[in-house]
Structures are given as C-alpha cells and as structure tokens.
C-alpha cells in the first residue's frame, strides 16, 4: 500500500499511467475486436496467395518473407539505426516547422497590418507542391542533412501556418473584450487567450503537417541520403529486394501512425476543456 502510494502519486506513477493510457488508446483503437475479424483473414490471404503462385512469389512476397526480411534487416543492415536516423530528421524538420510556423501564424492572426504585409507572400509560395522544391533545395543546400531537414520543414510549415493564423484571427471578439476591459495588454491577450482558444485548431494543423512531413522525409531520403528508411527503400528497389521494400513501406507507415497517435493523445490531454461541450 505504501509502496503503491509512493510510486503512484506524482512523477513516475503519472508517467506510467499516461503511457498506459496512450498505448491502450492507440493500439486499442487499431486492434479492436471488429478489425481483428477482418485483419486475420487478410493476413492469411497475404501468406497464402503468393505461396500457391496465384501471385508470383518473388514479386509479391508473403507475410513470412517480409518477416524474414525484417529480421535480416534488423540484424544485418542496422534497420533500427536507420529508423533512428529517419526519426531524428523527421523530428528536427517538424519541430523547426512548429516553432516557426506557430509564432508567425500568431503574429499574422493577431495584427492586421502584419497580416497584410506578409500573407500574400505565403499565399504565393504555398501552392508550390513540396516535391517541386527538391531541385532548388539541392542547388542551394547540396545533398545531405541540411537539404533533407529543409524539405521536411517545408512540408510541415504551410499547413501549420495557415491554420494557426486562421484560428487566431477567428477568435471570438467577446473573449478579447472580456479581457481588454480588465486592462489586459496585447501580450497577455496573445499568451492567455488567442493561443489557448486556437490550440485545438493548431494541433489539428500539426497533424496535417506531420502527414506531409512524412512524405517529404521519404522523398528527401530518396534523393541522396546515405541513411534512413527512404534510402533503404530506394536501395532495396535498386537491387530488386522486394521483401525489403515492403518492410520499409511498413516501417514508414508505422512511423506515421505513431506520430499521429501521439498528437491525438496530446490533443486529448491539452483540450480537456472541450470535453462535455
């Protein structure tokens, strides 16, 4: 009882409970009873169809082929290290995007003159699809880590910026009046009202940013990385290693899914006040 209290009160206990809740939410929603009923037959089909040569096995590997390739890649090719590299680049680009797009979006939404001066520039540049930036990026940054992080940043930047500024702009003026009449300064307004009111929309925009950043991660690694899952994917394709290709695809999918789940969890924790509305 006492040990439980000691561990269960703050810090460690809270952390494990939070992690447990997160895992239950994320994996629970994915592997629900209903989906298992669909998933098991699909997995069986995947295993069986290439074995009976309904699909050629060398071009469409079975589940066990993929699993073996996965094991091989983990042991021999350092798959886990590559995953870490990819995650590192992904997080770096994403965090840079979040910490630039959100402040800029806040300033643009808060003040009309600022918005009038800056928004048109972003509106011109944003429609350029991120993969089209690759050649110019290679010219400026060369091939290597800065180019890859820049491309990932570019993918995540615009969705976050536009959604943030829109949400801040659309803050109900009555909240602002409520605070202004009590003498709130603009800084107080931004930190305490604009930001929190827009937080739901901001997190949603980060989810979109994550999706695009993941695409850019793969593209960036294909174009001259030496490391990362995208590079492994292209190398597997270049050397006709189909099961390895499938492993890379699945790993990338998992990275994306996991990032979204983390964001959903953050949304849950931060937006408590919306519960019950």
């Amino acid at each position: 009882m006492q040990v439980e209290q000691q561990y269960g009160s703050k810090g460690f206990g809270r952390l494990t409970r939070g992690a447990g809740l997160f895992l239950r939410n994320s994996f629970g929603s994915l592997f629900s009873r209903e989906f298992i009923k669909v998933l098991i037959p699909l997995l069986l089909l995947w295993e069986v169809i290439p074995r009976f040569d309904i699909l050629p096995r060398t071009l469409a590997p079975t589940l066990s082929d993929v699993a073996l390739a996965f094991r091989d890649m983990v042991i021999n090719k350092g798959l886990l290290l590559h995953i870490l590299y990819s995650l590192g680049k992904f997080l770096a680009g994403l965090l840079i995007a979040v910490f630039t797009a959100i402040p800029i979006g806040i300033f643009m939404g808060w003040n009309l003159p600022i918005r009038k001066h800056t928004l048109p520039l972003f509106q011109i540049l944003a429609p350029i699809p991120p993969p089209a930036w690759v050649p110019l990026t290679i010219i400026i940054f060369g091939i290597g880590l800065p180019m890859q992080i820049y491309l990932i940043f570019l993918g995540a930047f615009y969705p976050i910026l536009f959604n943030t500024y829109q949400a801040i702009k659309d803050t109900d003026p009555r909240y602002l009046s409520s605070a202004r009449v009590f003498g709130a300064s603009e800084l107080t307004l931004i930190c305490n009202i604009y930001f929190w009111n827009a937080l739901g929309a901001i997190i949603m925009s980060v989810k979109t940013g994550v999706a695009i950043a993941l695409v850019m991660l793969v593209i960036a690694e294909m174009y001259g990385g030496r490391s990362g899952i995208g590079y492994l994917l292209v190398e597997a394709k270049d050397f006709f290693q189909i099961p390895a290709m499938v492993v890379c695809m699945l790993v990338l999918g998992m990275i994306g899914w996991f990032s979204i789940e983390i964001l959903k969890f953050a949304e849950l924790k931060l937006a408590l006040w919306k519960v019950g509305r």
Binding site: N111, P113, D172, R174, Y175, S177, S178, A179, R180, V181, F182, G183, A184, S185, E186, L187, T188, N192, I193, W196, N197, L199, L272, W273, K274, V275, G276, R277
Partner: protein, 295 residues
C-alpha cells in the same frame, strides 16, 4: 469632476457604414447624441428592443468601441482619447495607430485604465481555464501577487457559491453557475462600476430570478455602480433604481423612469407593475409606429 457622477456620457453618437442587399453602402446610426449621467452607487438599466444600439452604447462606455462623436468619462477620467478634428491631428492619429488599434491596451504591460468590470451574455468566462484560474486571471491583471490573488479569488468564489467547483472547467458547469463565475470575476477586482450586457438572457426563468436575487445580495451596500442592458422589462423593474428606455434607429434615449421602491423589493409590488405597464405600452407604441426619430 462633477460631484457624484460615476459615469458620464456626453453626446455619444456611433455611425456605421454597411453594405445593403443591393450592394450599396449606406449609413447605419447605432446611437445618436446620447447624453447620460449615472450617479455613484446606483443601478441603472438600459432597456429597449433588440438592435436599438444599447449594447453598442454599453461597449462605448466600457471603452471597447470608439464613439464617432462625443466623450465618456468614468469617475472623471476620460475613456479613450478624443478623435482627431483637424487634418494635422488626423495624420498624427493615423500614424500613431498604424500598428495597434486605439482600443487596445498597452502592448506589453497590463494596464487597467479604469476600475470597471464587464459581464457579457455568453463568452464571459474562458473555457480553457478552471473556475479558479478565471478569477485569478483578472486579479493578475491588477498586479496582485499569487497568494493575494488566490485568497481574494477564493473569497469571492465562495461568496457566489462556487467554492466547491474551484478546479472544474466552465464546460462542466451549468449556465447559471457560469454566470455566477462571471460575477465572481467581476466582483473580485472590486471595481467602481460593473457593466452588464444582457447577463441573464441565456438562462431559464427560474435561474434568472435566483441570479437576480443573488446579484442584489452580492451588491448589498457595496456602493458599486451598475449598468445593465436588458430587454426584459420585469427584470429592469425589479433590479434598477432608474430605467432608461432606448428607442431604435437611431438609438436615442426615449424616456427615463425612476423607481423609488426600497430594496428588498417584491416582484409583485404594485408600483413595479405600474411602471412595467407603462414601459410596455411605450415600447409597443414604438414598435407599432416604427418611428424614425424621437424628439
């Protein structure tokens, strides 16, 4: 300046320009030359049908909107600087407010310019802060330290009866409790005047009457000047010392009624009923005749 006047509004006019259905810009007069003096410690109600400019007028009193003409003084201090009259002043004004609107407070420092509080109909409380945080927020704007903030917040929250819901979020409270939170927040800064914009419109009748009683109890001999905007005649009669009738388009003061019945009042007091009758007839006449101007 003048003795006993808490809020003084002189010849306040507010013009808007809107685009009508045909796409032509036309002028809309929300208020036209409204002059009003409100004594200290009184409860005044601004009454009138919807859309007659009383809410706009209230916001001008609070300094949340700038009047097109006229000036407002709260306890002798002018609310919002005068609009420019000469060309040179206009240029200087425009230059100064190129970046920040004149309605905004300071950029970095919290500066309560006048000791007033305001309560809105909806959106009075911040849904992302707990009950306690809502109240300590406004106290922080006044510059109180954390311990004092909490103490004062607790005091007023207990006074309105929310002492048991300190860490709940407004979405977990009922409508009546949310309005009480708004009261607590307004009272906690111990203002000289509280302006209320249809504070009880969003709740049902029974809750409304309870809240009205609670309000009177809270204000009991506190000396705070109250200005309430409402369209409920019975509420106006029950609560106020003076009722000011607004008439629509343009918004001007049509009539004033003084109520001398001492508090605590009975809702079925004959004088109240009489005044309600007269006011209703007046309002009905206005609506029936749709008078453009009232002299």
């Amino acid at each position: 300046m003048e003795g006993g006047e808490m809020i003084e509004a002189r010849r306040i006019s507010k013009f808007f320009s809107i685009v009508n259905k045909e796409g032509i810009a036309e002028g809309l007069t929300a208020c036209l030359s409204v002059t009003l003096s409100i004594e200290k410690g009184k409860i005044i109600t601004l009454l009138g049908p919807s859309g007659c400019g009383k809410s706009t007028f209230l916001e001008i009193l609070a300094g949340l909107q700038a009047p097109s003409e006229g000036e407002v003084f709260i306890d002798g201090v002018r609310v919002l600087e005068p609009l420019p009259s000469t060309r040179a002043e206009m240029d200087a004004y425009r230059k100064r407010y190129r970046f920040l609107s004149p309605l905004a407070n300071d950029l970095f420092r919290d500066r309560p310019k006048h000791d007033i509080a305001m309560i809105f109909q909806d959106y009075a409380v911040f849904p992302w802060m707990t009950v306690l945080q809502n109240v300590t927020f406004t106290l922080k704007l006044r510059g109180l330290r954390r311990a004092e903030r909490e103490k004062q917040a607790l005091f007023y929250l207990n006074k309105v009866g929310l002492g048991a819901s300190l860490h709940k979020y407004p979405s977990q409270l009922s409508g009546g409790m949310r309005q009480r939170l708004a009261f607590a927040r307004a009272l906690s800064v111990e203002p000289k005047a509280i302006l209320m914009d249809e504070p009880f419109a969003a709740v049902d009748l029974l809750t409304r009457e309870r809240l009205q009683d609670d309000l009177l109890k809270l204000l009991d001999s506190s000396g705070i000047t109250i200005v309430i905007v409402t369209h409920d005649v019975a509420e106006a009669a029950y609560l106020s010392d003076e009722i000011i009738i607004f008439s629509p388009s343009p918004g001007t003061i049509r009539n004033r009624f003084t109520i001398d019945v001492p508090r605590p009042r009975r809702r079925d007091h004959p004088e109240l009923a009489d005044i309600q009758e007269r006011i209703s007839r007046l309002l009905k006449y206005d609506i029936d005749n749709e008078s453009e101007y009232s002299i």
